[in-house]
Symmetry: C2
Subunit: 601 residues, 2 copies
Amino acid sequence: MGSIRDAATMPLAAYLWRRIRQLGVQSVMGVPGDMNLELLDYIDQVDGLTWVGNANELNAAYAADGYSRVKGCPGVLVTTMGVGELSAINGVAGAYTENVKLIHIVGTTGTRAQRARAMIHHCLGPDPDHRVYSKISQHVRAAHCWLDDVGTAPGEIDRVIRECYLHSLPVYIFVPMDFVHVPIPAAPIEAPVDLKPKTNPEACISAINAVIEEIETSTAPTVIVDALVHRFSAADVMNQLLDRLELPTFTTPMGKSIVPENKPYFYGVYNGQVSLPGVANVIENNSDLVVDIGFIHSDSNTGGHSRNISSGAQSILVAADYVQVGHARYENVYLVEFLTRLSETLSTYPLKRLPSQRRTLTIPPAPIPSDGDAKHITQSWIWKRIGSMARPGDILIGESGTAQFGFSDATFAPGVQYITQIYFGSIGYAVPACFGAAAAQAEREVANHGPGESGSRRGREGRTILVVGDGSLQLTVQEIGTMIKKGLRNVLIMVINNNGYTIERAIHGPEQEYNDITPWNHQLLLRAFGAQDGELNSRIVDTKDAFEEVISLPEYTHLDSIQLLEVMMDRMDVPWRLQAQIDLINERNARLKREKVENRE
Amino acid sequence: MGSIRDAATMPLAAYLWRRIRQLGVQSVMGVPGDMNLELLDYIDQVDGLTWVGNANELNAAYAADGYSRVKGCPGVLVTTMGVGELSAINGVAGAYTENVKLIHIVGTTGTRAQRARAMIHHCLGPDPDHRVYSKISQHVRAAHCWLDDVGTAPGEIDRVIRECYLHSLPVYIFVPMDFVHVPIPAAPIEAPVDLKPKTNPEACISAINAVIEEIETSTAPTVIVDALVHRFSAADVMNQLLDRLELPTFTTPMGKSIVPENKPYFYGVYNGQVSLPGVANVIENNSDLVVDIGFIHSDSNTGGHSRNISSGAQSILVAADYVQVGHARYENVYLVEFLTRLSETLSTYPLKRLPSQRRTLTIPPAPIPSDGDAKHITQSWIWKRIGSMARPGDILIGESGTAQFGFSDATFAPGVQYITQIYFGSIGYAVPACFGAAAAQAEREVANHGPGESGSRRGREGRTILVVGDGSLQLTVQEIGTMIKKGLRNVLIMVINNNGYTIERAIHGPEQEYNDITPWNHQLLLRAFGAQDGELNSRIVDTKDAFEEVISLPEYTHLDSIQLLEVMMDRMDVPWRLQAQIDLINERNARLKREKVENRE
């Protein structure tokens, strides 16, 4: 530890928070603890930066994830060494798996105690290595640093922030207690961190030429837009490109809402065999070129790995850091730059043979559900209905479970953002992610319209609509309290009450006790968590008519406080897509078992 | 994977659960998930084993910890790969740090998907290593196994169970989905797992002789009893030994309640400089021998590392797996066997010079608190009062925070068990640990008195009394719902409402917003989480008189349903021990800083 005390320094914590603010971050998630309290003192000193204080650390991580998905900047959370840090790790792992930018700042013991391996509270066992938790999180982060050196601290902060953006992944910053206040060189703060990856320009041009040639020589190309387009903040340039291409375009379940769904070239969700009738056929059998952009080929994003694209079709993969055309891979070609340059190229040299490219697909209309006439609220009805009630500027959060499968059938207005965690699939994600998303939405509205009459927002247009099952709700319910504490008024919580873990009943053990949950009184939750108007704003519906009536209320169309709507549904009703994926996997497993037995004989 | 299909086999999951039942386990904690559902099917098939189903996985781990502390057998929890497994890891780390026996069973993807590195939900990122989570938990367990081989599975299960007991630490058992039902050799199940460590008999005799000689040649020996005595189930033999020694005995904060506090040789809590006046002096300056049994020398268990035992005094350390007399260490001498043999030896050959050993210490009476006359509920009053209201058979759970510091001043009746997590100190521990402890207590009462009229317990004697602050409560509150679901009637929840994180206000930032929390309506919690009689059983008190009145109610003296008592206290009032430890650490830090500056000059 050196000593630098001149005007060209600032306290380490001040540097850290100013850097984070420069990224666009306004809300810092986390839970206070004795090893991070002094670090938190510096947050308020940065203009526009505020501390949230979540109900627990896992919730803080989920909230940071939801915040990042809306704002595009990293979600930031602060925890205490060990106890808080480990409590949050599952939320960080989810962000890692789904390529969400997080900065996890951990307040740790001082470096002297670390060297002495002192048995300080929150350490692990006897003769403790105070840095053992950093080994634990190495698997769920792109980079990390220990701010235990005055000279390198600014560079280390800047480096991990850059890595966070390059990979769109979580990073960790460990701050020993004795380094919070130390002066570090301030000069670097004046220049923003360079967040852009360095694309290889020759490789990029080659890739662009190869892609254009493939499109121009194809007769039936198809585009699939997936989640990484969102994660690398490429949606705008992507949509500009799509407007220039005018090729038939699909999204995956995870990519849903990136492409405006009113575009004439948009044809819905492609999810392997778990797609609406005709969809798989036009892509898998009738396309001679499939352009797969920003893909995450996880099971529930590919119909349980049931994509079966014709081997005769050419394939183009646009990944985060490379483009692959057939067997040729162009490395160090990064997503945003590639899409931008491709779009620019097409604006100068429009595609040849455009008329044939602009083909209109013939996809049969979606089947009419057999329970379409039901008066009660059914799976075949609810998701489309919630989808159609969402307006531009609204955010829809679907919890893992039936919501996640159901929303693929909904059509969203342009400008609706849909958030769900399909690959990692951690139940409990949605409630805190909703808090993070709603906080980000409120910040956005203030930025767009000014603070408004009551200090929080004026437009009162954008709503954050959470759809969570009664089972998943139980894991992280206390984050509703944080929404109340922070005075959010833009949240509509829909609790699907189907009496337990319905998705698991569908998979295994429909009547087993382990799929039951404690029946809660959801109508009391808002009040219990401190909402003065909680009773007034809690409702329960069990028919479609009642649902329609409630969502038409002025307090629902223009939210002015948190609303909770409990939606009663049948415990064994499931979305057709969930059942289709389960059937498909069961059939595959049965086939594998038969083959195994036959091989043995 | 071999194939064994004869009468000498049983399904792997059946073997696993029968083994676990043999250890005394009756309740299995956890959260269902598609990768463990089939594993759960086998629980009900084992007589006396039941599934709990917690509200989330961190809570399940804490609950398993609390359960283990009461029952002595391991706490068992089941999670799903990745999402559940990581959510629980902080609870497992706490058990690791505090030497609590846990068996964490993880249902994972099938081995074929693992080999294919398939992107199944709950996996980590692209090209996923499905076993990466096992690398993450390697730091918080004593042993693990993957049950992916028919021939070795029984041996592997038995091995990790044995390791769990040998070290009194968590272990992990990973069960791939395709191995749940496979038949494995059943023969080993007939013989119980050998859970006892192999003490070196010669080393043990040498250690006993050395210890006896030290005691006999000392003039003022003192005994300190600490947490590992409890963890290794050595309390009974320890107390038999103490009765034979009749030496002045103290416990640490973590060891509190192991020694019956009505014994004439018991002198209270020794916690370095953070002890009642006179305590440190008699040990540190007036003893010529200090016998430290089952020690965990963590900061808050040693008054912030402020023990200062005279260098002239001899020291004896009795650890989990060795005994050290002065500089001589006797390895492979295990706690229970050592204490048992020492006690046996003393029963045959009583100590010489006994009269001088049976010294009576003179410790000044505890100071009278300056706010003793206060009508409102004060820190100087509440802990002693709760301590004195606990009866033999009661369990007291103190959350990290003021409760943990305060309870060192209480005197417990013999047979009261006190549970707290001082070394790891993870707030949020206490509520789920209370559920686990109360479930274990209910099982014990059924075992002692039969199931009783209403199926759960008859004696209605033992109460589990939880003391949790309003801040800590927020982290894991939903586990109250599990208490309600499981029909527990023996739980009394005291919520210390002092308007935020009081312990952190004392440490840093008394008026900072980050030490505030969402003000909840605690009176509604029982009802919100499903208790029919929740309104009737929720009360609030803000004076000592009101507190006395409530705890004298028949529904409190003989619990018949869960009671919640909200205790209003001042936000800046703290136990003197907390303030003393903070002052001590601040002084030390200031001194170090001065020395550093002086060294520089």
